[in-house]
Amino acid sequence: MMEGLKNMLVMIELELRRLRHDRTEIYTRAVQPILWIVIYGPVMSSVKAIPTGGVPYTDFITPGVMIQTTTFVSIFYGLTIVWERESGILKKLLVTPASRYSMVIGRSMASGVRAIFQALIILPIAVLIGVKFVPNPAYFILAFTVIFFASGGFAAISILVASFMKTRERFMGIGQAITMPLFFASNALYPIKMMPPILREFSTFNPLSYVVDAVRGLLITRDLSNLLIDLLAIAIFDAALFIMASISFRRIIE
């Protein structure tokens, strides 16, 4: 158990060391969310077509856009895994004493670390264009913890997918096919109430909605009425995916 935890930390350390050498990806991936906040947000808010419960529209979508970016980063983390599979890295890792689950969870959480940086970089831009965050450090820390763990779960999805899709091209395709529906069928850009009934049903099973709801409550609206349910949903989501990804991880090198 301790061994496993240590190995997870090593995987996180690996990711931090990578980030230290090369941060280009963080910057390039920040472009898209910034466009959402700087252009899409203000334009849509002038239309006033979307009921946001009293907060400005740009403020409303900021958490959604942050989560969207971090989810994308995590889902495409599987590309790293596919690359490591094509080279001999995964083979070598799987011949070490480290357990499968510690590799899977460790790598997933490593992607969570990347996600935190990805979300942090959006904050100053949002503040600049006037998004009002709840000025409470404890809320911030909790929000980023939620982002960290949720990203871990999404990265586990990507590891699961990577163990089936063994080429980059296939993986890219499936990655797109997962991320866009997750995003649009969530409460990231509009409240779930506005969706057609079928999508609303789907949204109940969309982990992204719970993450956005929790982070939005903590950073913008102070509405924490669903926080416990959100956290529980994320915990179940993580646990289920960590287990599934660990089981399928072995087949990745076969």
Binding site: V10, L14, R17, S87, G88, I89, K91, R251, I253, E254
Partner: protein
């Protein structure tokens, strides 16, 4: 004392059709350097991957230091270190950082870590580039870094899949000298695949030749060469017509122990001096005209030629290798 590796009737079939291993039996003594020689697609990599617990055999049993690789995988992984054929280091961090991450995964105690890493870097001649990103390394440096990774712990056995691929002859020599010291100092067993004859010849205590999923012969290099017996007369034939069953006919001569053809005609005989005139006459009567003759002692190359049927480099059409790789990839 347990064998370092013990394999009994091992079979591996990919996708229900490609028989990569077809009943392999093998024992490897502790503390030896053991070379598995074979053409591409012979099953060398598959065998190493089963022994390192990555793949499950279709049938048969395999043990590493008495531990069953299927049932005691966790315990086996504590004893081994492994260098895959493909590149296996992270290129976006430094060489030192690669070793640091692995030292931590292997559980090298904190106090020893620096020393162990420095030693491994020193051994593989990478100290001066340890803080450079691996993507700036040459192919040979990357290979040496991978071997350094495998030296971090003092494993009971190292599995090296084509360890010196991509290294120039000088670097190969250095790597093997270090591996030999490592082997002697810590009693590490080295199990390696190679397609360099000279490497097996020089550095392996024992050699097994594998072809089409079966071990066709094994022994010490000298024994293998000796087993051919006698001398080899190599004829370079002129490109004139000779009878099509020339080789069959030579084989029928009572003093001929073996004939192989690979561009040149090699004839294995007991004593070259006394048989050469007869052979020359015979070739003439068969309509072959000889351009050049040379006499050699059998080399490992000749051993390979005898058991596998072709010289190492020529065997294995590219398409076959690809096909096999695809199968391995798909699992």
């Amino acid at each position: 004392m347990d064998f370092a590796v013990k394999v009994k009737n091992l079979v591996k079939v990919y996708d229900g059709k490609v028989r990569a291993l077809d009943g392999v039996d093998l024992n490897v003594n502790q503390g030896e350097a053991f070379a598995l020689l074979g053409p591409n697609g012979a099953g060398k990599t598959t065998l190493i991957r089963i022994l390192t617990t990555q793949l499950k055999p279709t049938a048969g049993e395999a043990y590493v230091f008495g531990l069953n690789v299927v049932h005691d995988g966790g315990k086996v992984r504590k004893l081994v270190s492994y260098v895959p054929q493909e590149m296996s280091v992270w290129t976006d961090i430094s060489g030192y950082e690669n070793l640091l991450i692995y030292a931590k995964i292997f559980g090298v105690p904190k106090l020893e870590r620096e020393k162990v890493i420095d030693e491994a870097l020193e051994n593989m001649g990478l100290t001066h580039v340890k803080n450079d990103l691996v993507k700036t390394y040459s192919g040979g440096m990357i290979r040496r870094l991978e071997i350094a990774c495998a030296m971090l712990i003092k494993p009971k056995i190292m599995f090296l899949d084509e360890p010196t691929i991509g290294l120039d002859p000088a670097a190969r020599k250095v790597v093997w000298e270090r591996l030999n010291v490592f082997k002697k100092e810590y009693g590490v067993t080295i199990f390696f695949n190679t397609h360099y004859m000279d490497e097996a010849d020089l550095y392996a205590d024992e050699i097994a030749i594998i072809n089409q999923g079966k071990i066709v012969t094994r022994g010490k290099s000298e024994e293998l060469k000796h087993s051919l017996g006698g001398e080899i007369i190599v004829f370079t034939l002129e490109k004139t017509a000779h009878k099509p069953d020339l080789i069959q006919n030579i084989r029928k001569l009572n003093f001929v122990k073996g004939v192989f053809e690979d561009g040149n005609l090699s004839v294995l005989v007991g004593d070259a001096e006394s048989t050469l005139p007869d052979l020359m006459n015979f070739l003439k009567s068969e309509g072959a005209s000889v351009g050049k003759v040379s006499i050699t002692k059998p080399t490992l190359d000749d051993v390979f030629l005898k058991y596998v049927g072709t010289r190492l480099e020529e065997k294995g059409r590219v398409s076959d290798v690809r096909h096999m790789r695809d199968m391995i990839r798909k699992g």
